[in-house]
């Protein structure tokens, strides 16, 4: 590693002010810090620091996304071959390879577009490049239908990163979860391409339905896949969202490492389950008759609960607030899904709405603390 370090030190002056490539300073520093944790020591304040940093934090989230990603890749191939009625004739690796080839361009577009904007805005502002996009860049392809056209994806990402994040001041300052902003953008901008039955399975024959379980019901096919398929994720849907099982493995990683908030995750499921039980008593439509636990396996509910609602920047910041925030997300997600079946994407809306209200929740909790202090004074 010493020779690599020497090489980096040698080329470094080119990227600093006055150097040949000074416009790439932020980019260079980002890559340098990626390779080497800097030699900077503390000059003021605590002399020792915890080993964790933002890179480690984000890397753990990406790691936790791996099971859902790998399964998502497999499921792309699986759904494709099922639609062709060839699933019994192909082997595991063939299925996986097909999925991989379909998935790879999405990830590449996501990181290239997103990181380019991140690097550029870091350079303009003279900031360091924040690691937040490492996670966002992985989340975005996972919540997309597999057949999303790449240009649409690119536009959505540009929108999400610039208007969803950078104009607020970058990672840590944004109000809405950037990944969900991308999803919402695509959902509203290209509704004809993005809903219905055409996008969920790659290269499927036209005759095959290919609807997600929830949109299937909206189409009038009042049937549900069996529990096994739902739980393990052998259903059409956004790439990373289908397998509740794999998402729960990710959840376990996040909770053991303490990166994601248990308070939020738990209360989202609780809120969702509670609302599902409530709608079970009504008879609005077929959605309200789905057993409560199955609601939690559908429509990206688990994925949203584990990876989206727990985004610390856009969630509630106070410990009590996290319970309220999570519970309301779960509640709203099911409510939107049942009451307005045109939006099976209830989870996405629920989280975005609660992103908006998280500061308000915190405001009241902080205010309670302030009032207590004032009361003590008199």
């Amino acid at each position: 590693m010493k020779s690599l370090r020497r090489y980096v030190d040698r080329i470094k002056p080119n990227f600093q002010e006055g150097g040949k490539y000074e416009k790439l300073q932020s980019t260079f520093e980002a890559f340098e810090a990626f390779l080497f944790v800097p030699n900077k020591t503390s000059q003021i304040g605590t002399h020792i620091h915890d080993a964790i940093d933002m890179k480690r934090t984000m890397a753990i989230v990406v790691f936790a996304l791996l099971p859902a990603t790998l399964f998502g890749i497999y499921n792309i191939g699986y759904q494709h071959f099922v639609s062709l009625n060839e699933i019994y004739t192909v082997g595991f690796w063939q299925i996986f390879w097909f999925g991989f080839i379909e998935f790879l361009p999405l990830v590449v577009v996501s990181y290239v577009v997103g990181l380019t904007i991140e690097f550029a805005s870091a350079q303009i502002r003279g900031h360091k490049v924040n690691e937040g996009y490492l996670v966002t860049g992985m989340l975005i392809p996972l919540i997309m239908p597999v057949d999303v056209p790449l240009w649409m994806l690119a536009v959505a990402i540009a929108f999400a990163v610039i208007l969803g994040k950078e104009i607020f001041g970058g990672t840590g300052m944004n109000i809405f979860n950037p990944a969900l902003v991308a999803r919402a953008f695509i959902f509203f901008s290209y509704p004809s391409q993005m809903s219905g039955t055409s996008v969920w399975i790659a290269d499927k024959p036209d005759a095959f339905s290919g609807a997600t379980p929830l949109s299937n019901i909206a189409l009038g096919n009042l049937s549900m896949p069996d529990f096994h398929d739902l739980f393990f994720g052998f259903i059409p849907g956004s790439i990373g969202e289908t397998s509740t099982f794999c998402i729960l493995i990710g959840a376990l990683i996040l909770l053991i490492t303490g990166i994601a908030s248990f308070k939020i995750m738990f209360s989202v499921f609780l809120g969702g389950y509670f609302m599902s039980l409530v709608v079970n008593f009504t008879n609005i439509n077929f959605y309200s008759q789905i057993p409560a636990y199955e609601h939690l396996l559908l429509g990206g509910f688990a994925f949203g609960a584990v990876f989206m609602a727990t985004d610390p920047v856009t969630a509630s910041q106070t410990n009590t607030g996290k319970y309220i925030y999570g519970f309301l997300i779960g509640l709203l997600a099911i409510l939107i899904r049942v009451v307005n079946p045109a939006y099976p994407e209830g989870m996405m809306f629920a989280i975005l709405i609660m992103n908006l209200f998280a500061p308000l929740i915190d405001h009241y909790i902080v205010q309670a603390n302030i009032n207590k202090r004032l009361k003590r004074q008199t």
Binding site: M1, F36, T41, G45, A51, I52, R56, V366
Partner: protein
């Protein structure tokens, strides 16, 4: 003594570091030079009373506070003023005294506590330079002798990493400690609150102490911080003042009453992973650390700290002990690049998060250096500070109010109850590497400016 209720501190963190001082006393011969550093006192504007080359006794006034001229700062040692070092804008940073072979004390009148009035007592303490030992919350200032404190507080233990054990240090100082407490009782016109560590049985010294109300605290650092203890017993409201004194400074005050001299000898722990033989040293306050660390440190590039690793001040290898400090810590500087350290499994890394494998197989003790282990970012992760911050205050909201220069909000969120040291663990665990203590300092400076 009546049994007291144990106050449990649940949040916090004990960082177990290598190099704890062994319980062996070493009586250190006098150092060549000593220093008094005006920078050890917040908001004090020093006005010099001595010149270079002037002879001083232990107890001779070196400077006083321009804003409150009654507060004197005296020499801990007899000798000759060797240098007055100034920093930016000619600000005085240290007054260095070359010590005599033997200490000569300036003799003050002895004090008979039974007969002296409170005003006279205060004046005597002020004159002899003992007043700076009496500090106030909010904001860790030197107490204003004209104020009436709500209570006076002494924390009888230090919970910070590698902290000296006061039971051990105070063992032979029973008489002086009691005398010091008597002085404080007179100042407080009431009982003195003493915070003790409930993890260990009450020391004989504390048990026999008169005129104190004992509060037992159980839990990790920062349970020993006087600010945390006050918060749990009698939180500070706007306009209120609480005075506090460090245990060893109580002894110094006591000795003054007994002998009528400014005897600033104290015991410090020399500790840290880079000290070959970590021990306790009996020294005079303000000593140069040069001789103490001689032949007792490793060959690595080192960081010398007066105080502990969380709140202490970086000094040179020939630097001086801080006025209120009771330990010198030496750790590796750690200014090396670390290849891909953020993906490494990290069996030897220490983290309060569970993101490294060291979380699965914890070591008994860790060797930490001064590397930041990452780059500074904006606030991203939430809930991190709350795990190590045992106060009913929202740390991040308070910090953001300070960053926004919103004084009203700072007051509402509890700026009067906190000081830098209470946030030290927040800064340690921060994955965004935010300089939390500096932000608090900024907030306190803002408040002081506003109040004047």
């Amino acid at each position: 003594m009546p049994e007291s209720k144990i106050i449990k501190i649940k949040k916090g963190l004990n960082i177990k570091l290598e190099g704890e001082a062994e319980k062996i006393f070493i009586k250190e011969p006098l150092a060549e030079t000593y220093a008094v550093k005006p920078t050890d006192f917040r908001a004090v504007v020093p006005k010099l009373d001595v010149q270079v080359k002037e002879e001083v006794l232990a107890g001779t006034r070196l400077f006083h506070d321009k804003k409150n001229p009654k507060i004197n700062f005296v020499s801990p040692i007899s000798g000759r003023v060797e240098a007055i070092n100034r920093g930016e804008r000619r600000r005085i940073i240290e007054i260095i005294i070359r010590a005599d072979k033997e200490i000569r004390y300036k003799q003050f009148e002895k004090i008979e506590l039974e007969n002296i009035s409170k005003t006279d007592l205060i004046n005597k303490l002020l004159k002899a330079g003992l007043w700076p030992f009496i500090q106030q919350k909010p904001f860790n200032l030197i107490a204003n002798p004209d104020d009436k404190p709500k209570v006076i507080f002494v924390s009888g233990f230090d919970s910070s990493p590698l902290a000296p054990d006061y039971d051990f240090i105070l063992h032979d100082e029973k008489k002086s400690f009691q005398k010091g407490i008597d002085v404080l009782t007179k100042l407080a016109s009431g009982k003195i609150h003493l915070g003790v560590n409930a993890r260990f049985p009450l020391s004989k010294l504390f048990k026999q102490l008169k005129g104190v109300e004992i509060h037992e605290f159980l839990g990790p650092h920062p349970s020993g911080n006087v600010g945390i203890q006050i918060h749990h017993i009698n939180p500070i409201n706007k306009g209120e003042k609480v005075w506090f004194v460090n245990p060893q400074d109580v002894v110094t005050i006591g000795r003054f009453v007994e002998k009528g001299v400014y005897d600033a000898s104290k015991i410090i722990a020399l500790c840290g992973s880079e000290i070959l033989k970590p021990r306790y040293y009996k020294i005079i306050n303000g000593t140069s650390i040069k001789n103490i660390i001689k032949d007792n440190i490793t060959q690595n590039k080192l960081r010398f700290i007066t105080g502990n690793v969380l709140t202490g001040t970086k000094i040179q290898s020939k630097g001086y002990l801080g006025f209120y400090d009771s330990q010198i810590t030496v750790i590796p500087e750690g200014d090396q690049y670390k290849f891909m350290a953020w993906v490494a499994p990290g069996f030897k890394k220490y983290s309060n998060s569970r993101t490294f494998f060291s979380g699965l197989i914890p070591r008994k003790k860790y060797k930490l250096d001064a590397n930041l282990n990452g780059e500074e970012r904006s606030f991203v992760v939430s809930g991190q500070y709350e795990k190590v911050f045992p106060m009913k205050i929202f740390p991040v909201f308070l910090l953001k109010a300070i960053l926004a220069n919103d004084i009203e909000k700072m007051e509402k969120l509890g700026i009067y109850e906190v000081c830098e040291e209470d946030f030290a663990l927040c800064e340690f665990v921060c994955s965004s590497k935010i300089k939390v203590q500096s932000i608090i300092s900024k907030g306190i400076d803002m408040m002081l400016k506003e109040m004047n």
